[in-house]
Structures are given as C-alpha cells and as structure tokens.
Amino acid sequence: MRLSRRSLLTSGSAALVTAGLGWPRSSRAATSIVATTYPGSFDEAFRSVVGPAFKKASDSSVTFTPLLGVDQIGKIQASRNAPPFDVVLFDEGPLIPAIASGVLEKFPVEQSKSYADIPSAFRHPDGYAPVITCQLIGIAYNPKKITTPPTSWEDLWKPEYKGRVGITGLGSSLGTAFMVEIAKLNGGSETNIEPAFEAIKKLLPNVGAIAASPGALAALFQQGEIDIAFNFWNNVALLAAKGVDIAFAKPKSGAVVIRTSAQIVKNNQDPKLVLDYLDTVMSVDTQKGIEAAPWVMMPTNAKVPLTGANLTVAKSVDDLVANNVLLDWTKFQSLRGEWITRFSKEVKI
C-alpha cells in the first residue's frame, strides 16, 4: 500500500468516523474521496444530505473538510501532485484565481447525468463544473426592533438606524458583492467602486459594528449588537429556524446572487467517483434535500421546485435567475485585493 499524506488523512478520518459512530465494518465503503465545504450551515447540510446520498448512489464515502474558499487554493498549490482534496467549493470570485492557478480540471459534460437539468446561467462558460447552489444577498433585520420591513438598500442609511447597522469588509464574497451593488446603484460600475466608498462613509454614523467575517456578522444579531445588515439568505433562514429574532427582506433592486460551484481538482484520486459525487450533488433528490428546511439552500437544478421559506424570495429556479442581480466577477476580481486594503484603511467607526 502506498502511504501518502492524503491516504493517511482519509483513512485516519474514516477510522475516526467508524469508531465514533459505531458503523459495522462490513458496510464500510470500499473507496472514498475528500470534498471541501464551507464552515457552518453549508457543512451541516452537506454532512446531513449530500454524504448519505452519495453513499447510497455509489456505495462510496466522502470525507468533508470545512474550509473557506481562499484557504483551499493555497493548500492545493502546496501539494499539486497529491492534493489534499478531490472536490473543492468556490464562490464565483475566488473561482477565477483558482482556475488561473491551474489546479482545477474541466467538467466532463458528456459523461454527466445531471448536467442537462442545470440552466445556462449556472453553467461555466469555459467548461468548468456548473453551479450547485446560490447564496442570495439581501437585508437581514431584527423584526422585533424594526417593525416596518426594509424594502431597498437605501434603507440602511435611514437616520433611525443610527448605531444599529452591521457591515463586513471585502474579504468575503458577501462584503464585496454588497459594495459592488452599492457602487452600481450610485452611478458606479463593476470596476468603478468609488461611489460605494463614498456611500459607506455616509453610512458610518449608522454602523454599530464591523464584523470580521459573514459568520461574525450573523452572530451579531444573536448578541443583539446590531438590528440590520446585509447578509446571506440561507444563513438568515437557518438562524430564524433556530429561534433567533431575524428576518430577510429582498431589496426592490433584487437580491445579489452568488453562484457557488463544486470543482474537480487536478490529480484527484478517482475521477469516476468525483463525477459521481458531482452528479449526486446536482441530482434532483439531493437538491430537494438541501432545499428543504432547515437548510433552505437555493437549488440550481431547474427540475427542483422551490418550497417553504425559499418561496418568499423566488417562485422558481428560473425566476431566481431572471429577477435578481448576477454580477460579472471577472471584471473586478483582480481589483479586490486593493479594495480589501482600502476598506481597512478608510472605513473606521
């Protein structure tokens, strides 16, 4: 047996899982791959829905590793010939440098069973793997303290919200998408961020806290530090399901859609299994699973009807694409580094 870092890692974690859950040895899968998830609700949904579905579909197992998008590229680059993951998760922004760094493989369209169900807005123009879920950015607010639901992004600037607004920097897709959208609404564009910086300076009297990350921004609602902020729909829905006083409002200009895809890593340990995994994630059954409460993740398979809380933000997957905002990240991803540093320097409360 060849002992690589990865085989040690996977067998190690498989052993831990086996020991921890007391699975009978006979049913242990013969083969296994490693896929990343995002920490938090993403990870919970993937472990609960995608893992079991993959085991059922292919009699193989998948080990999930929660990591932020940007952390993944470095880890793969550090070990290109034996990468620590077989499938990685990327928002559309970080996906651009990941493709440029040459660590990802294109998606074998003709071999895929689920690809036909994915609308064109969710297919990659250069042939990389399609989008598996979307994150919608809108306005999160505390319905106990803000009784009139906000209707537009401009509401954040209302004087009555003095000291109650939360924001986060451009290190995440959340902060970046918000700034670009604000720039566009104030006469700027996907490359001219200037109006957004001017607008955010006018917002400062209202800002109660600048969170270090989207997760921290959501936690600020639980602590009662802030009452209104831009945030991801599925984070809000999950918190609301857990009893936190939080609701979501879609701005009249449309929610900003962040497309998240699961990509194939070059030199992965089993290309057939990796494709099976992607097909499982895109399949109608799995997408129905992650769409249901409490996960309420947005499906990208057009055959999956929206239900429950998701119906409050879109009627269907097609409606989701047609009536919300899709940004062209290729135009500004290269500018983000400069924006992140500038935000730290200029945005102070």
Partner: protein, 285 residues
C-alpha cells in the same frame, strides 16, 4: 578518533533528533518566509526589497504595528498593576487561601482561549451582563458600546493573560527575605515606602519576566483581538491574515510577519538586556 572526540560525539548524539526537528519545523519555514518576503510581487519570484519599502512608506501599516505593540505594553502594564496586590495577599495568606488563590489563577490557563474570549463577548455585549446591570440600576440611559472597542479588548486580554504575570510575581515575592521587610519596618518605614524601596526592586526580575511574557502573548493574540476587537480594530495578526488569505499577497504578508516578529523579539531582548543591567545595579547596592 581519539577517545575524547568519541565521547563528545556520543554526548551530542541525543541532540540530533531535536536539532533536526528544530531545523525542519522552525529554521526552514522561517527561511522560506524570508525568501517569499523578498519577491517583488505575488506573481513573479524576482527579488527585491520592495515589500519592506512598501511597509516603511505606508503610514497605515506603521500605525497598525505601533498600535499592536502599544496594546501589548498596555495589557502587560495592567496585569502588572493587578498582580502585586494579588501576590501580596497570597504571601500573607495561610495554606488554604494559598491553594485557593493558586487554583483561581490557574483556572483560566486550563480553559481554552476561545471559551474565555466568548465569555467576554457575553459580559461586554449590548445585552451583556455589564450593560444589563447598569441599565437596570438606572446608572446608564442606553447600552454603552463595550464590545469591539480598544478598552474592551485591553480588559479581556488583561484577564486572559493575568496568570502569565501573577505566577512569576508571586514566585519572586515568595523568595523575598522576610527579614528585609521586617528590618525596614523596625526602622520606621511606612508600608508604601517598604513596597517601593524594598519589595518592588527585589521582585523586579519576576515582574520583568512576567511583563515580557504578557507583552508577547497579548500583541500576538489573534483570537481575542479578532473576537473582542471585531473587524474595526486592525492589528498585526489580523493584518497579516488579511494580506495572506484575503488579498493573497504572500510576499507582503511574509514581510509583515518578519517585521512583526523582529519588533516583538527586539523589544523583548532590549528590555531583557536593560533589566539585567538594572537588576545587577540593585544587587550591588
């Protein structure tokens, strides 16, 4: 080989694994960090001192460094001020109280930093213990912002790092010869004078050791700085993380790391050297 050299190499043999580990886990990564910091930009490996010049010519970066070092100094000073009364009570106590105080000092060390930090979030938050108490007593009209402030961060770090200061100070107080304070008392010195002229100078080595430990630990405390300081206070650890992970500018992040390491170790060595001279002076006197 002469018997002497055989003996020497035999003595050195056990050192080899440790030296190899030190080389692989510390020297080599540090050398890689130095090499990366000399890259002109993240895309090319062309060598230059550009990243260091960038740091020196950017007032924002210099302010982040000075703020971070100042935070370390402030926390170290606060723990020092708290440690002496604690240590004096300890020395004056009986065996039971001593065990209790030792337990209370050690308790935070046995808890994870993340847990201790979250406790501070609960205490300092808008709906936290302090704000609720002040509001219900009618002392405050509206909740004060305690979390995500500089003062909140200093307070949390002071509690978290206190054991690092209290233990060396207690240790040096225990070693203080009781006859000296009794002699001063017999000669009519006041308690304040005894503390300032006898106790403080003779326990200074312990206080300095504690000061250096707390300074280095508070300046580099990424978790507490991020969670209690929030996104609005940028200090060196979060600045390095942002440049490496968010901006993906590894050469600049590497240069920042080296500058930060040099600044912290520089201060530690300088104060260590100064105190040795000073303490020797005390001994001679």
């Amino acid at each position: 080989m002469t018997p002497a050299s055989t003996n020497a190499s035999r003595q050195l043999l056990p050192v080899v694994p440790l030296a190899a580990l030190f080389l692989a886990a510390f020297v080599l990564p540090l050398a890689a960090l130095v090499a990366i910091s000399l890259f002109r930009n993240p895309q090319s490996a062309e060598l230059s001192l550009l990243q260091y010049l960038r740091f020196l010519s950017d007032p924002f970066s210099i302010k982040v460094l000075s703020d971070t070092l100042w935070l370390g100094a402030e926390v170290a000073l606060a723990t020092l001020v708290l440690s002496y009364p604690l240590a004096l009570v300890y020395v004056a106590s009986g065996p039971f109280m001593r065990t209790l105080i030792t337990f209370l000092i050690m308790l935070p060390l046995l808890t994870s930093t993340v847990v201790r930090t979250f406790a501070w979030i609960v205490i300092l938050g808008r709906d936290g213990i302090v704000n609720s108490a002040m509001l219900s007593l009618g002392l405050w009209q509206s909740p004060a912002r305690l979390l995500y402030t500089w003062e909140g961060m200093v307070l949390a770090l002071t509690q978290i790092q206190l054991p690092l200061m209290a233990l060396p100070v207690i240790n040096s107080l225990l070693r203080l010869d009781g006859n000296l304070t009794r002699a001063a008392e017999g000669l009519g010195a006041s308690r304040v004078r005894i503390f300032l002229t006898v106790v403080l100078p003779l326990t200074l080595p312990g206080a300095i050791a504690g000061w250096l430990l707390v300074f280095a630990a508070a300046a580099t405390a990424f978790i507490t700085q991020t969670l209690v300081g929030g996104g609005r206070i940028i200090l060196m650890p979060s600045y390095i993380y942002q440049q490496a992970v968010g901006v993906q500018d590894w050469p600049f992040a590497a240069a920042l790391s080296l500058i930060f390491t040099l600044a912290v170790t520089g201060i530690v060595f300088a104060i260590g050297a100064l105190s040795r001279r000073f303490v020797r002076g005390v001994d001679a006197a």
